[in-house]
């Protein structure tokens, strides 16, 4: 299976292109309103783009608005692409079993074979015990499991997942994520998410889109470890300063200077980013004198629990400190403090 795709939807300011290789799970990351779900609708055939093309295994699914190309349009039911949405959207009048059997039935299988396939897929997602229930009798997590089985039972060449865990309770999401990890192995899929865990556990490759354009692309671990885009840095939980190379550091357009270690030699004045973990940041009430560290005066905007620690947010950077330190330093939103970070904790690379 290979999938090639490009689309322009002017109304939603979307203009992007990407490919999915055989047995590859691609995570599409991006802020709300960046056009992720729109892209999935175009791929599934539910939305006609102003221009774009899509081929699946060499078969043209979509070709519109391109000069010189014969237009093509394959309706959603004939594409071999299933879509799993945020909500399970199980047909309320059918039992879980008949919901899962819907795809096989639609593809022309006999009632008996379709039901057998449905039993198999319900078993695959650990939902056999719900076979005879109507969707109204299922919890959100149970219903989403059945929805996964239903999508897989349709035997799609490409599976699209639109934030499949977003509507679920935090207590049931991890189990569903593990299940998806199991069933997505050896499959080709595109998963839209803004959860870094989904990308890490489910995807081989990530594409980051912002304002409808691809801003970053590569193997998941690499992109998340060395982000080049502020959104990617934020979901990877990293601090990022973007600017140009200045001496041994990066100077941002608003004058912030952060020194660090560059992996490769960078030319002065080249665009670069300085990236460091919030846990590498120390917080002071007053600038520590004569220190070789980077020191940045900031105003706290927000405090939130982060594991065992407290994440101290400002408009640009974050720091992780212990709860006793928060009390001792009297950290509250609006307080003016100094963030410091050792140059050895800061990675600098070209952007």
């Amino acid at each position: 299976m290979t999938f090639e795709f490009s689309a322009t939807v002017r109304e939603r300011d979307l203009d992007l292109a990407f490919t999915v290789d055989d047995r590859e799970v691609v995570a599409v990351l991006g802020p709300n309103g960046s056009g992720k779900s729109t892209a999935l609708s175009v791929i599934a055939g539910l939305l006609r783009p102003d221009a774009g093309h899509a081929t699946l295994d060499g078969r043209r699914l979509l070709d519109v608005g391109r000069t010189g190309a014969t237009p093509a349009w394959v309706p959603p039911h004939a594409r071999g692409i299933a879509l799993l949405a945020q909500e399970p959207l199980l047909f309320p009048h059918l039992t879980a079993l008949d919901n899962v059997a819907f795809g096989p039935r639609s593809l022309g299988q006999s009632r008996r074979n379709a039901r057998a396939a449905a039993h198999h897929w319900l078993d695959e997602v650990d939902a056999s015990q719900y076979a005879d229930r109507k969707p109204g009798q299922l919890s959100g997590g149970q219903a989403q499991r059945v929805a996964v089985a239903r999508a897989l039972a349709a035997d799609p060449k490409l599976l699209l997942l639109d934030e499949p865990m977003a509507a679920l309770d935090v207590t049931v999401a991890p189990a569903l994520r593990q299940m998806l990890r199991r069933v997505l192995r050896d499959r080709s899929a595109v998963i839209v998410t803004h959860n870094v865990l989904d990308a890490l556990l489910l995807a081989n490759r990530v594409i980051v889109i912002d304002h409808g354009h691809v801003v970053e692309e590569g193997p998941t671990t690499q992109v998340l470890a060395r982000p080049r885009n502020p959104f990617t840095a934020r979901i990877a939980g990293l601090n990022m300063v973007r600017g140009t190379v200045d001496g041994h550091g990066v100077r941002s357009s608003d004058g912030l200077m952060v020194e660090g270690l560059a992996g490769h030699a960078l030319a002065q004045g080249d665009p670069a980013v300085a990236v460091f973990r919030p846990s590498a940041v120390a917080v002071y009430r007053h600038p520590p004198g004569g220190s070789p560290r980077n020191a940045v005066p900031v105003t706290i905007t927000d405090l939130e629990p982060h594991g065992e620690q407290v994440r101290v947010r400002t408009s640009t950077l974050s720091a992780d400190v212990t709860a006793p330190a928060v009390a001792e330093l009297d950290l509250v939103p609006g307080a003016q403090v100094v963030f410091t970070v050792k140059a050895s904790e800061v990675a600098i690379y070209g952007a």
Partner: protein
């Protein structure tokens, strides 16, 4: 019911509400009081009455079936597709709701009547529609169709397209989606819409008398029969009215049942 919720209504609201309820119930009670119970069986069993009742039930059922056959696709096109002039078409479709039925009857007459737009050509083919039982069914369908279209279109819009989109990505062709997803989802609305159409067809008077006339056993439905009897035999008119009320109550009950399902 366990516990009763604080209604949160100002007390004075109950006064006009009670007046309104009385306004509806009192005439029915007055009618009940006028019925000659001893003669009731013979009053409603006269040849012309039975003919009218049978004709009414037959034509109303037929026009309800027609409303479903024509109205379901109309509601789907109005709710799901987009084309130029759709708003105008929707308004025109709903016109019979607000049109005086007599005007509807005249419009039908000038379309399908002997000298009408299409009627003239049909006349050449030896087909006469006006003043036949077919005309009764057409008049009833004309006034009842909007009821089904309105209730079904609303239900289709409320249900949304999301289930249909999912069904399509699971490999279901449009006809399969329609049969296995769309129709089951709006079935309660379809049932209550059909009941409303039946009720409207049963009560139809103005368009029928204009377009179909009043021939006993052919076009004289129960409302027409009641109107005529009122001149000659008021007691029979009241008895027949009661029959119509009973049928209406049953129909409304069925409609509520369908809606609650």
């Amino acid at each position: 019911m366990a516990g009763s919720r604080y209604p949160g209504l100002p007390g004075w609201v109950f006064v006009p509400a009670a007046v309104g309820a009385l306004f509806v119930v009192l005439p029915l009670a007055a009618m009940l009081g006028t019925v000659q119970w001893s003669d009731f069986p013979s009053l409603i069993a006269s040849e012309s009455s039975v003919a009218a009742l049978v004709l009414s039930l037959q034509t109303s059922t037929t026009s309800t079936v027609l409303c479903v056959i024509l109205g379901v696709p109309m509601a789907m096109v109005l709710a799901r597709s987009a084309f130029p002039g759709q708003q105008l078409l929707r308004s025109l479709t709903l016109l019979p709701l607000v049109l005086p039925p007599v005007v509807g009857g005249i419009a039908l007459l000038y379309t399908f009547g002997r000298k009408g737009l299409i009627g003239e050509s049909l006349e050449v083919l030896g087909i006469q529609i006006a003043f036949s039982t077919t005309a009764v069914v057409m008049a009833q369908t004309f006034v009842a169709l909007p009821f089904l279209v309105v209730s079904l279109e609303g239900a289709l819009r409320t249900a949304g397209r999301r289930y249909e989109s999912v069904a399509a990505t699971l490999g279901a062709r449009p006809t399969t989606v329609l049969r296995r997803v769309t129709v089951p989802l709006v079935l309660p609305a379809l049932a209550s819409g059909a009941v409303l159409s039946f009720a409207r067809a049963l009560g139809e008077f103005g368009a029928t008398i204009t377009f179909a006339g009043s021939l006993q056993g052919v076009t004289r439905t129960l409302p027409l029969e009641i109107y005529l009897q009122r001149e000659t035999d008021p007691d029979a008119a009241v008895a027949l009215s009661l029959v119509l009320v009973v049928i209406a109550v049953i129909v409304v009950g069925l409609g509520r049942g369908a809606r609650g399902a």
